[in-house]
Amino acid sequence: MSKKRLYGDANSKSASRNVGGWIKDLDRARQSGPFLEAHPMDAMGMSTKAVHAGTHDDARTGAVGTPIYQTSTFILHEETYESIEEGFGRDRFIYTRYGNPSQWAVQEKLASLEGAESALVFSSGMAAISAAVLAMVDVGAHVVAASDLYGGTYNLFNQEFPSLGMSATLIDSYDIEAIEAAILPNTQILYFETITNPVLKVVDIPALVDIARRHNLRLIVDSTFAPPPVMKPLELGVDLVVHSASKYLNGHSDLIAGAVCGSRKLIDMIWPRLLNYGGQLDPHAAFLLERGLKTLDIRMKAHEKSATALAEFLETHPAVDKVVYPMLPSHPDHARAKELMKMGTGNVTFFVKGGDQAALKLMDHLHLPKQATSLGGIESLISLPFNSSQSTMTSRQRADIGIHTGCVRLSVGIEDADDLIADFDQALNAIYQMKGAA
């Protein structure tokens, strides 16, 4: 049995002390990590990083893959006491609310995939979003955010912000001029989604980066709909990328998790919020997420392949009014999608003739897609915004953000395209004939 203890990131050391010196003599500089500095994989491909980055075999037994460190606490010793005293506890294993090797494995993998210096995992996407946002604002702050945000994030700005003495102005993510005009003297961050839900707008991230820089703001984007094989927002100049890891990153619809990626400086500012708000990811869930991430790149290719074929098929079907898929030339942001997205995803939104009632019947006739909210799983998921994600809005409010009647939100899984097409063909024919009969 090895006595050698892995107490954390060995590259992380105290600033040297200089008795009689001044603060300029402190020599500890920021570095990527924890752990990333020691395992650079920048030159590797997406799939290689997905498999290998952050995954460390068990040194004691030779077991392949990261063990599940199902522990709440770690044995303290000199290196951990020192890190607490010196304020770099994030680089040591102390207590699982502070950090755990199972979490670190995912964080290292995610940072590597996003091209980030550092990452943190959370117990949900909203835990990640709330910690990231609240770390970047101060009392009295104002935020400019998208008007068609994910409902959970909307609630953070709409319900929690006023109670915290902060405010948000929500603007159509297409309206770059209005976004800039909404900036106030106390605005601290811009918060947008790279691809919106459910109408799949491809947001002009470079324009938002430009606004943020000119106004001394931080730009946070939720890239749940565009995981790293699709888009790497940090490369575009975004400050922080947040994800609901429950979607594409994990990919199997079997856990709830979130993540934030960015510079070491900003992620270190978020870490105390993770400690204070308490949204840590359990080691067992971290293991599942790490396992899911290993196939991210090949899953995305399979999602894209089936989604593209199905979207092209839907466009030709007489029962379908309109198909929204950024990689189709018919999408209003197709040119921007080709510029910003390296590949398509599984998200296809379409509008059936006959409105919401026809859409409801369509779902009943489908055999393969599960009638469930969420997205990014290996199984196709289908839902209608009018009675699920946007059910609290009036039909007029929904129409204002592009959700017209008959809107179907589809997350294409990795099933074979031919099977999905056959299933949608029979279901669409069934409702089309019913409509014709009526």
Partner: protein, 183 residues
């Protein structure tokens, strides 16, 4: 964390500024609104830490005692000046102690200053308008030696932006925008 200052983060910030000097440029601003009599309200404006904006939602009031035609509703401008000076020296002292590895138990700074209001009043004397001198005593308890604390005191003053603003000439440039009320 020693003295509740994360030494690692302090060190990382100093090294960042050394590499990227614009991260060390701090821009501050306040607005002062006259309320009534000698009372005025100060509000902080957003601050820039390097190129990054920080919301500063703070305000306070200054007033003069009744003997000086005020209502004694807040500290007066001279007290606020000494407060700004001493609080800045305090930050420098504590940061310096932390960097040296000194654990502090308590630090107090006691300030006194006397000025002759005849300068303000414009009475023809040789009295200056401002403080001719400011006196303070730092009372510190911690695990440093008396020599270390003396040296720390010297460096805290040397590196305190407010102390250095007071002991050195500073350009004070201003303008006035006026509007005459006509009735």
């Amino acid at each position: 964390m020693r003295n509740n200052i994360p030494t690692a983060a302090l060190s990382e910030f100093i090294n960042e500024v050394s590499e990227t000097p614009e991260e060390g440029l701090m821009s501050y601003g306040i607005e002062i609104d006259w309320e009534t009599g000698t009372r005025a309200k100060t509000s902080t404006k957003p601050m820039l830490v390097g190129p990054h904006k920080v919301s500063r939602s703070f305000s306070w009031k200054a007033d003069e005692p009744r003997q000086l035609m005020g209502n004694n509703h807040g500290p007066n401008p001279q007290e606020l000046l000494l407060s700004g000076l001493g609080s800045c020296m305090m930050v420098a002292f504590v940061a310096g102690a932390t960097a040296e590895g000194i654990q502090l138990e308590s630090v107090k700074i006691d300030f006194d200053g006397t000025l002759d209001l005849r300068g303000f009043m414009g009475l023809g004397t040789n009295a200056g308008v401002g403080f001719p001198e400011i006196n303070y005593v730092i009372d510190v308890v911690g695990d440093g030696t008396p020599e270390q604390f003396e040296e720390l005191h010297r460096k805290a003053v040397k590196h305190s932006p407010n102390a250095q603003t007071i002991v050195n000439p500073v350009a004070l440039t201003g303008e006035i925008i006026s509007k005459q009320i006509e009735d």
